[in-house]
């Protein structure tokens, strides 16, 4: 307490200066609609500049980790390619049609993990071909989020760490389906619920997205099962899932536009036709 009083005695003038200056700025900012708008724009500009600065520092510091991850990814893709080549007879030539627009590599400008509704800001927008609904994946192909809004040069994605994002998913081995979502709290742990009680669940089983999940292409890895327990009514499993993507260290991500989100959404909006039992019998 004495130290605090001594500290305040020593530093009260600079503290007062900062407080009064901030107070005057707030007063001025609120004095007219013009100054309100300009102050807001200026503060956004400064915040954006800070985000960019810290983002580039983070990317520089994570270069080594990214290089290792890329090398591993290349090795994995090479081995897959070799496996495909061995499957095709030597005398058959296969032409692969690559659609470059389907994959967009970009950088994360800003990423929050400490709210219930977390969002990621990405440095590419409409001018780069980004569209609402595209999936956001890590360089390793793990699920991260889905684009919800775009401007000319930037995009916002709802992160997996967003309580309103609910993904239809299945177990990669057992193929039992369920609902995957983040309940809030630990940024590495999500839940996989409504899994039938007959499912064979093992710790470490991968949970992957289903094609009609709205958010991710079929087979996108969401995480791995850590534990599973039956619900109170003993009819369903609720699994704790460790997210595959490290959401706190996102830097380079890939946007994918390979699934039919709009068609799925349209189907969901349409009323379900009533099937008449007598018609079926006929």
């Amino acid at each position: 307490m004495h130290k605090l009083i001594y500290f305040l005695k020593k530093t009260y003038v600079p503290i007062l200066f900062v407080l009064i200056e901030i107070g005057a700025i707030c007063l001025y900012a609120d004095s007219s609609p013009y100054s309100q708008a300009r102050t807001l724009a200026a503060s956004h500009y400064i915040a954006g500049w800070g985000d960019r600065l810290f983002g580039s520092m983070r990317s520089y510091l994570s270069l080594r980790r990214d290089n290792i991850a890329l090398t591993e990814r290349i090795a994995e893709l090479e081995s897959r390619l070799n496996a495909y080549k061995q499957m095709v007879p030597d005398n058959v030539e296969v032409e692969l049609e690559l659609d470059n627009d389907q994959y967009i590599a970009c950088k994360v400008v800003s990423n929050s993990i400490n709210h219930l509704q977390n969002y990621i800001i990405i440095n590419k927008g409409l001018n780069d071909g980004v569209r609402i609904g595209m999936s956001v994946l890590t360089a390793q192909g793990y699920a991260v989020g889905s684009i919800t809004n775009c401007t000319e040069n930037f995009s916002v994605a709802a992160s997996l760490l967003n309580t309103s994002v609910k993904v239809s998913a299945r177990l990669s081995v057992d193929k039992s389906m369920g609902l995957f979502y983040w309940p809030g709290g630990d940024s590495q742990i999500a839940l996989f619920t409504n899994v039938p009680k007959y499912a064979q669940i093992e710790t470490g089983d991968m949970v992957e997205a289903i094609d009609f999940s709205e958010y991710f292409p079929d087979g996108t890895i969401l995480g791995s099962v850590e534990s599973a327990e039956l619900t109170d009514d003993q009819t369903m499993y609720t699994c704790t899932v460790r997210l595959a993507a490290d959401m706190s260290r996102l830097d380079n991500v890939i946007l994918v536009d390979g699934h039919n989100i709009e068609q799925v959404k349209r189907l969901k909006r349409e009323p379900i036709p009533v099937i008449n039992a007598e018609d079926n019998n006929e």
Binding site: V13, F17, E21, G23, A24, L27, Y28, S31
Partner: protein, 170 residues
């Protein structure tokens, strides 16, 4: 405080001329002299940072009331008052002349001009920066800043020349 009566008279004349004369000059948008900063410039050299800040809040607040700019003059005046001591040590140094008291003057400070110009430029930079808060129309803002700073500096010098003999008289 030594020369208290002279200081009160000096502050009254400066602030009155700012409110009644310079705030009402409308012949050009590029010309907005802010002479009241001379009150901070001419405060006695030994004045503590806290007293400087109180003076800055009172002067800035009065100017805000007269100009209808809520907080803008305080925003500009407060840092100038708070950082006066570092600005002084960076731009000027004390002479060996004794007997002029604590009042800043060309006799008491070498490179007095640098000190005055630095104070006026810093004040105008903050004032016009916060007044516009944007880099759109940069040319207009830069020209307004330049013209107003030149006018302010000239008028500040005029006040210093007129009042220094009174404030430094033994």
């Amino acid at each position: 405080m030594k020369h208290l009566k002279q200081y009160i008279l000096f502050f009254t004349i400066v602030l009155a001329s700012q409110v009644l004369l310079f705030n009402n000059l409308t012949f050009s948008t590029y010309f907005a002299p802010l002479v009241y900063i001379v009150c901070i410039i001419m405060m006695p050299l030994g004045t503590s940072s806290l007293k400087m800040m109180i003076a800055a809040i009172l002067i800035g607040g009065l100017m805000d009331l007269s100009m209808g700019t809520m907080g803008l003059n305080v925003i500009a005046t407060l840092p100038v008052a708070y950082f006066r001591r570092p600005i002084l040590s960076l731009t000027a140094s004390y002479t060996d002349v004794d007997g002029d008291g604590d009042t800043p003057s060309p006799m008491r400070l070498t490179r007095f001009n640098n000190y005055v110009i630095a104070m006026v430029v810093l004040h105008n930079l903050i004032f016009f920066g916060f007044e516009h808060l944007t880099l759109a129309n940069f040319g207009f803002i830069a020209l307004r800043f330049l013209c107003s700073t030149l006018a302010s500096t000239a008028l500040v010098y005029l006040f210093i020349i007129i009042f220094t003999p009174k404030l430094t008289r033994r």
